[in-house]
Amino acid sequence: MTDFISLILEPLRDVYAKFVRFVPNLLAMLIIILVGMIATRTISLIMLKLFQTVKFDSWSDRMGLTSVMRKGDLWAKPSEAVGSFVYWLLVIAVLMAGFSALNIQAIDHLISNFVLYLPRVISAILILAFGYIVTGFIGRAVLISAVNRGYLFAKLLADAVRILFIVLFIAMALEQLQVAPGIVVAAFSIIFGGIVIALAIAFGVGGIDTAKKIIEKETEKKEEGSKDVEHI
C-alpha cells in the first residue's frame, strides 16, 4: 500500500519540485517583462521629448523625410512614427528576453529560430513599408493624371493600379518570409496574370464603347491641344 501511495505521490513531488524550480524563472520572466515594458514606455516617451527638443519634425520637413512619408499616405508626425517603431522593436526584445528567462528548451529553441528568422521579417517589413510608399505615390499620381485628362473612371483606374501594386508587394514580402514560396510565386503569377488578362478581356470585349470614347476623346484633345496651351 505504501508503495502504491508513493507511486502516486512521486510524480506529484516531481511536479512540485519542477514547479518550485520553475517559479523563480516565471517570476524572473514577469519581472523582466514588467520592468522592460515600463522601461520601453519610458524610453519611448523620453525619445519623443528629445525629438521635440531637437525639432526632429522640422528637420524631417527640411530633409524631405516628411515628404517621403506623405508620398505613401502616412500622415503621422515623423517623430511619432519613429517613436512607435522603436517602441515596438523594444517590446519584441523585452518579450524575447522575458521568455528566455523561463529556461525552457522548446522556448529557447523557438527564440533562437525567431532570431535567425528576424532578418527575413525585417526585410519583409521594409518591403511592405517601401511598397506602401510606392503604392500610395503611384496611386495618387495615376488619380491626378486621370482626373486632369478628364477620364470618367479615374478613381477606378487608380484603385486598380493600387491593387496591382499591393498584390505585387505582398507577394514579395511573403516570398521573403519563405511562407510557402512556391505557392506564393505560383499564386502571384496566377493572380497578377489573371488581373491583366481580365482587364484585357474586360476592356476588349466589355469596354469597346468606353475604349472608343477614350480614344476619340484623346484624338479630340490633340486637336484642341493648341487651344489649351494658348491659355498661358
Binding site: 516628411t66 486621370a146 482626373v147 487608380a158 484642341e224 491641344g225 493648341s226 491659355h231 498661358i232
Partner: protein, 419 residues
C-alpha cells in the same frame, strides 16, 4: 555649373565678336514655319533703330529637326531700302547654337544670358520664335528703355484676346502684383528687354536644374528683377499673335512649372513681399492703340467636366490643402455647374494662397500638389469664360482688375499663414 561658353565653337564665336552693345536672343525648337519672320523683324529692328550699335542675334536651339537653324542662318533682309532711311554702320552678328541642359525654354535663355555676359552687352532682348505679330518696333520698344532711360527690365504689354493668357490672368498676374507691389501686366509674357547688369545677375543664379529651366523661366526673370530692386518698366507691343504650340504639350505640366516656380520664389523672397501693401503702376513705354485680335475658342464644357471629376475624385487631397470649409463651398459650386456658374473671387484667392502655403509646408509631393490644382484652375477659367463672354476687352480687363484687388485685400491671409 556647366557653362556654355566653355564650348570651343561658341568661345571661337565670342572671340571673333569680342564685345557688343546689344544682344537679341531667340529660343527655338522646331519653329521653321515662323522663325524666318522673327529673325527678319529683329534684323530690321536693329538696322532701323540701332544702326550705330554693334549687335548680336543669338538663336538658342533645342535640337530642331525641321531646318529651324538653317533658316536662322540664311535669313537676310533683301530690301533694306524699304525700311531704312540710312545705311547701317555696324554689322549684326548672327549665332545659331544648340543649348545644353534640361530641354526647355529656360535652358535656352541660360545660354543667351551667358553669351550676353561674355560679350559684356549693354542691353538684351528675348523674343519668342513662334511670334506672328512681331514687328521691328518691338526691338526698339524692348531695348530703348534700357539703353536710353536706364531701366533694367522691360516687360511686354500686349493686347490679348480675353480668353488668352488665363494662367497669367487668374494666377500669375494677381499673385505677382500682390506679392511684390508692381503692376507688371504680363509677368510671363515671354518677350523681355533687360540690361547687361541684369543678365549678369541671372547668370549668377544656379537654378538650371529646376522648373526655371522649363516654363518657369519667365516668372523667374520678372520676379528676380522686381525682388532685387532692379528698375522695372513695361512696353506696349501691340497684339500678341503666336503660332499654335506643340499639340502634344501638356497644359498641366505648364501650370505646374509656372506656379511651382512662382511659389518657390515666394520662399526665396519672403522677406521682400511680406511687408508690401497694395501695388503701384510701372512706367509704360509705347503708344497704346486698339488692335484687332485673333479669335480664341475655348471648350468651357470640357473644363467644367474636369472640374466636376476633380470634385468627385480629389476630395482628400483638396481637403488637406484648402480645408473642409472651402472644399464644401467648391462641392456646392459643382452641384450648379451650368452656364451661369461663377467661381467666387474670394474663394479662388484663398485657394491660390492655400496652395502656396501647402507648397511651402510640403504637405504633399510638390508635383502632385501642383497638378491637383489643375481641375480647380479649369473650374475658375470656365467661370471666367462664361462671365466675360458678352463683354468687350476693356470690361473683361476690369474683371481681372477686380480679382487683383481681391488678392491684394486678402494678402494678410497669406502673410499670417506663412508664419
Amino acid at each position: 555649373m556647366n557653362s556654355v561658353i566653355a564650348r570651343k565653337s561658341i568661345s571661337d564665336h565670342i572671340e571673333k565678336i569680342k564685345d557688343a552693345e546689344i544682344l537679341v536672343g531667340i529660343p527655338s525648337f522646331n519653329n521653321a514655319r515662323t522663325i524666318g519672320h522673327v529673325v527678319r523683324a529683329v534684323q530690321a529692328g536693329l538696322a532701323k533703330y540701332f544702326p550705330e550699335r554693334k549687335s548680336v542675334l543669338v538663336d538658342s536651339d533645342g535640337g530642331s529637326t525641321d531646318m529651324t537653324v538653317d533658316i536662322v542662318k540664311s535669313t537676310v533682309i533683301e530690301d533694306y531700302q524699304a525700311i531704312l532711311l540710312y545705311h547701317r554702320n555696324e554689322p549684326v552678328f548672327k549665332m545659331a547654337i544648340p543649348y545644353h541642359g534640361i530641354p526647355g525654354k529656360g535652358s535656352a535663355f541660360r545660354t543667351i544670358f551667358e553669351i550676353a555676359d561674355a560679350l559684356n552687352v549693354k542691353a538684351c532682348a528675348v523674343v519668342d520664335s513662334d511670334l506672328r505679330s512681331i514687328t521691328p518696333e518691338w526691338v526698339e520698344l524692348l531695348l530703348k528703355p534700357v539703353l536710353k532711360e536706364g531701366f533694367d527690365f522691360v516687360a511686354p504689354l500686349y493686347h490679348r484676346h480675353k480668353y488668352d493668357g488665363t494662367i497669367t490672368n487668374s494666377i500669375i498676374y494677381p499673385l505677382t502684383r500682390t506679392l511684390y507691389g508692381k503692376q507688371v501686366r504680363q509677368p510671363i509674357g515671354g518677350d523681355f528687354g533687360f540690361s547687361g547688369r541684369l543678365a549678369k545677375h541671372y547668370c549668377s543664379k544656379d537654378v538650371w536644374q529646376t522648373d526655371v529651366a522649363r516654363y518657369g523661366i519667365d516668372i523667374w526673370m520678372t520676379t528676380e528683377a522686381i525682388a532685387n530692386g532692379f528698375k522695372i518698366a513695361q512696353a506696349f507691343l501691340g497684339a500678341k499673335i503666336h503660332d499654335p504650340k506643340d499639340p502634344g504639350a501638356d497644359l498641366s505640366a505648364m501650370l505646374h512649372q509656372v506656379t511651382g516656380s512662382a511659389f518657390a520664389l515666394m520662399e526665396t523672397y519672403a522677406s521682400v513681399w511680406k511687408g508690401i501693401q497694395g501695388s503701384e503702376p510701372v512706367p509704360t513705354f509705347g503708344f497704346q492703340y486698339e488692335v484687332g485680335l485673333e479669335q480664341v475658342t475655348v471648350n468651357a464644357e470640357r473644363m467644367r467636366n474636369i472640374f466636376r471629376e476633380g470634385i468627385r475624385n480629389l476630395k482628400e487631397i483638396w481637403i488637406s490643402v484648402i480645408g473642409n470649409g472651402d472644399y464644401n463651398e467648391i462641392k456646392a459650386l459643382g452641384s450648379r455647374l451650368n452656364g451661369n456658374f461663377r467661381f467666387p473671387l474670394a474663394l479662388w484667392t484663398r485657394i491660390v494662397y492655400d496652395y502656396a502655403l501647402a507648397y511651402r509646408k510640403k504637405i504633399l509631393p510638390r508635383e502632385h500638389l501642383l497638378k491637383s490644382m489643375m481641375p480647380l484652375y479649369l473650374g475658375k477659367t470656365a467661370s471666367f469664360v462664361t462671365e466675360v463672354q458678352d463683354m468687350n476687352q476693356s470690361r473683361a480687363e476690369s474683371a481681372i482688375e477686380n480679382l487683383c484687388r481681391e488678392f491684394e485685400s486678402s494678402k494678410d491671409y497669406l502673410v499670417n499663414g506663412w508664419k
